[in-house]
């Protein structure tokens, strides 16, 4: 088939636009990485775009020597690992029970679940509930309230229902209990779903800064994202101070603002690194994950 001139123009403009989009998607990230590898005082002079002018690992050295940030990183890893494993395990068990047609009360149970997808108590009642449960300033406030996701339960359930019933029956005749069937037959067959849901749960655990910011005031329990937010917030303050103050004082504050900016860029890179590391491997899974989600609708 011959393509017309109009088609050629369209196609080349699409290529241009998409290349531009890819560039714009990537540039902020790249630029932040470059600033984090550039000498802090040199960054102050401006003009850092695609490549570091004075390459330096100083910013990273400061970050890795800062015990508070390392501590935050460890808390983040802990909450992500513990939160993801426990949430996926509990939700899978729940979903398996709900997938059984002989389960008495299945319909009312389901209604109870689905209502929570449309209505919620909102921020303040939840906040007060957590307070009543004495979960303020505990590690578990980052794990327990999000333990069960109704959404994930429904996705699991849909998948479990699609597994041939014969497999279960035969293992039951061999004397397997329901729990045995779940752990020996069903879960080993559910690799892709478990991987997809675990990935999304892990990412949301890693990225959550808000929950700790309202429930945790003990800084040794704060994950790195919340710490980073505090750092960025104080940067805004010092940048504002720099504008308001007199010349001499302003220059000093500006210096502080810029060098701390380089530091926060380095912290941001450290906080993003785990996501970047898993990202290439799980790409095929998350496309699948979105499909599972949209099929459900």
């Amino acid at each position: 088939m011959k393509s017309s001139t109009g088609d050629k123009i369209l196609l080349s403009s699409i290529y241009t636009l998409l290349a531009l989009l890819a560039f714009l998607s990537f540039y902020p990230f790249w630029n932040a990485a470059v600033i984090s590898f550039n000498n802090g005082t040199d960054t102050m002079k401006g003009g850092i775009t695609f490549w570091p002018r004075q390459f330096s690992l100083e910013n990273y050295r400061v970050v890795f020597e800062d015990n508070r940030l390392i501590n935050g990183f460890i808390i983040s890893v802990l909450r992500t690992v513990i939160g993801t494993i426990s949430s996926i395990a509990v939700t899978a068990i729940f979903a398996y029970g709900m997938s059984k047609s002989e389960l008495i009360g299945r319909k009312p149970y389901m209604v109870l679940c689905v209502i929570t997808m449309y209505f919620s108590g909102g921020l303040i009642p939840t906040f007060l509930l957590i307070r009543e449960l004495h979960m303020f300033n505990t590690f578990w406030v980052m794990v327990i309230p999000g333990l069960i996701s109704v959404w994930n339960m429904i996705i699991f359930r849909t998948f479990f229902k699609g597994i041939p019933a014969g497999l279960e029956e035969s293992s039951k005749i061999d004397g397997c209990s329901n729990w045995g069937v779940l752990f020996r037959i069903i879960l080993p067959l559910s690799g892709p779903v478990v991987a997809t849901l675990a990935l999304f749960t892990a990412v949301s655990h890693w990225n959550d800064w808000f929950t700790p910011s309202i429930y945790i005031s003990d800084s040794t329990l704060m994950p790195i994202q919340t710490k980073l937010q505090q750092i960025l917030n104080s940067n805004i303050m010092s940048e504002q101070m720099a504008q308001m103050d007199s010349a001499a004082q302003g220059r000093m504050n500006r210096m502080k603002a810029v060098t701390s900016k380089s530091l926060s860029m380095a912290t941001m890179m450290v906080a993003t690194l785990p996501i970047l590391c898993v990202y290439p491997f799980v790409q095929k899974y998350f496309v699948k994950g979105v499909m599972v989600g949209s099929l459900k609708e």
Partner: protein, 318 residues
């Protein structure tokens, strides 16, 4: 299939036994489900019930049971508050801007990606544009602050190079730029990832239709509008309904992080951030809950209304 004897026996037994007995017999299944349901009741239903404190003067020391009931007092206070109309305006304007620009953007991206024949190029664009979705709002707000900074901010440097501005502009402290920044950041973060669903829908379009149209002399652009777009319309409508239902959720984390400068309060205060500020930071629990409840009620109306409209057009959520 022949049933094993014990299975037949069991099924007969199940039919004759009482509900209670059957319930006890499947205790292992119930054990999988009941703790989870209890958990949902505690963490979802108790807060839902707790919403009633919007009608109380909630007192931390008296608790929910001991606090006096005051009817619609907090709602009236909220409606009469001097900031009420600013908040409503911000909520609606920010939501509408996000809907107008943020909703079509991934559809357009999916349509464009669909035209690309080179697999390598397509994969690259997809991989890069999906990435921001996986970054936290803290990181993204850090990028925005860095890009727009007066010190070595790339946007200011570019504008200065193009001689569009003389001195660096501190975009994040000027109210007039706030909405644009918010919408742009939102699109930047989600455009790639949101396009996945539409790409999947496009992949389901029958290629014969394109062939037939091409033989009839339709250009690619024409095919895009006359074949691809109508074919994925049901998907678009479902997502539009969901977006309309969320219309009053103008955004929370992004506004909280990007609009932390008090100068921006006039343009950045939306219902959700207001609830957070008044409730969590100023401890006015009942008042904040009333404001939040007001938002939820409007949200339900919007969702039902949008679904009603969609049903008339033949596509609906339920």
């Amino acid at each position: 299939m022949q049933k094993v004897a014990y299975q037949v026996e069991r099924e007969q037994k199940i039919r004759t036994d009482s509900l209670m007995k059957r319930f006890i017999m499947q205790w292992d299944l119930q054990l999988m489900v009941l703790p989870a349901l209890l958990f949902i009741i505690v963490f979802s239903y108790i807060p839902m019930y707790g919403v009633l404190m919007a009608f109380q003067d909630y007192n931390l020391f008296k608790g929910f049971a001991g606090s006096p009931w005051v009817g619609f007092k907090h709602f009236e206070m909220f409606f009469k508050a001097p900031e009420f109309w600013t908040i409503i305006r911000n909520t609606i304007v920010i939501s509408l801007l996000k809907l107008l620009i943020g909703f079509p953007a991934p559809i357009i991206l999916a349509l464009m990606l669909n035209e690309i024949k080179s697999r390598v190029f397509k994969r690259t664009v997809q991989t890069i544009s999906y990435l921001p979705h996986f970054l936290s709002w803290v990181i993204v707000s850090g990028f925005v602050m860095s890009m727009l900074s007066t010190e070595n901010g790339s946007v200011n440097m570019l504008l200065q190079k193009l001689s569009l501005i003389q001195d660096p502009v501190n975009f994040l402290s000027l109210p007039k730029y706030f909405w644009s920044i918010l919408v742009t950041t939102g699109v930047w973060k989600e455009i790639g990832f949101s396009s996945i669903v539409y790409l999947a829908a496009i992949a389901g379009v029958d290629p014969h239709m394109h062939e037939a149209a091409a033989i009839d002399g339709a250009s690619r652009l024409r095919q895009m509008f006359s074949i691809t777009l109508p074919s994925i319309l049901p998907v678009i409508i479902i997502f539009l309904i969901l977006a309309v239902g969320n219309l009053l959720s103008a955004g929370f984390e992004d506004i909280l992080l990007l609009g932390s400068n008090p100068v921006l309060r006039d343009v950045g205060d939306v219902i959700d951030t207001y609830v957070y500020r008044i409730g969590i930071q100023n401890n006015r629990y009942s008042y904040a809950t009333a404001a939040g409840l007001f938002k939820s009620l409007i949200g339900v109306f919007l969702l039902v209304g949008a679904n009603y409209a969609a049903r008339k057009s033949g596509n609906s959520l339920w």
